[in-house]
Amino acid sequence: MSDRALQDDVIRALADAPYRKSAAWRTRGLADPDRVERFARFLARHFYHERVVHFFKYSRALARVTGRMPDAGAAIRYLGDLLQYEAAMMVVEAGPRIWREDPESGGEGAGSEEWSAPETVEGTVLLELAYDLPVVLPELLRPWSEVPQAPARSTKLLVARSPRGRVAVARSTDAIAALLGLADGRKTLAELAHGAGLEVRELEQTLHGLVELGAVRFSTGS
């Protein structure tokens, strides 16, 4: 086994608890098991703490109200939507990513592969909310005395992760929701356009945007 493969084995042991407990890892005797276990737990706690702080920053901005008023929920009617939104951001971000471009690949993004057989990327989330959160989110992070309010109107948000791990949020529509449900890597553009109720040209524009967000990719070799 190469040194690089050994390093990968150590990284996997730290990141993957079932592997860390396996005979395959333990019999190798590469490092003190107690130290490895402790460091792995430290890494996991660090990972979640960092993400909770980042993705739940809006809830944190509301904490001075929610922490002091027993009936705060009534003052913040969109709190359920907000928690759903923050949780979705955290889960979407946690997926695998490309750390380094394969020099033999054509890169990422729209236009890098043939426009055939689009497929919704695993982990893409479509949120259906009762409140228009994008209106209130920036307000929450600015100084305020009265709790900022979100308009009560049905809102669809798309949360996606680019191959390099950038999480993006965009407003969605019924057509986009239908498209994401249909894009399975096998249907043609014409079939998707028909299913989503879009003109082909309109579909291509929409797909372009979805690829840039990381919500859709194109299968190769089909």
């Binding site: 150590v10 996997r12 990513r97």
Partner: protein, 262 residues
Amino acid sequence: MAALMIGAFYNPHLGAELVRADGIDHLAMADPPAAGDPHWPAIRARYTLLLHDYLGQLSEPLDDRSIERARTLAELYRTPWVAEHFQCLHTVDGTYNLNYVFPPLYSEDFLERFVRNANALRARLDQPLVMENIPGFFDVRASQLPEPVWLRRFFDATQTGFLLDLPHVWLEAHYRGLKPERWLAEFPLDRVVELHVAGVEEDKDLAGPWIAPAEPSDEMLGFLAHAVTRCPQAKAVTFDAFSSSLTAEALFRSVERIRETL
């Protein structure tokens, strides 16, 4: 030794205070400025900025996109040097990663990889490259060389600078049961361009001290004073704390105490 610059990390939540601050010579940049950061233009205009972002791990060659990103940030910051870490934190295929600094095996194979890839990166940058030591909480039995020897050979082969993180050395000495000064003496201190100093705190998972965005203790500042006298090429000392939990008081008091120490 020329006068040392004393600085800190740019913590965007303290942007307003940093714009008005006295006694800080430079700011290290761990992340690019946010698009809506209202303090960034003044920070950029006022401070010497040090590029200290994640550029990539040098166990593999950096791809063109990563190098272009490094060049763009270096130009934006007008940085006097570009920093990266001795780290290998994701698998070759990207399936597993640690989201935290983690050292490579100190082996001949990894030395050759880091030398080759650091030289390739250095050739594409307009500024000198400096590399920061990373602490290990446990030894991996496949390592072949003591870390300080591995680092010495790396610096000799690349002519890069050494960003000496003192708490990292202190922690390794602690977990090896050595005096920090004795462990420090093993490192190639003649290559040091910049030093990092910060506090350490007890961590319940590790059941011992670890890196924390905390003020340096008197002991750590004493260690800094000792180290600086052995780093003849050092140009800067940076308070190494980057966290949304860091207060302005802790940052300014730490920089002031570092300045008093030196």
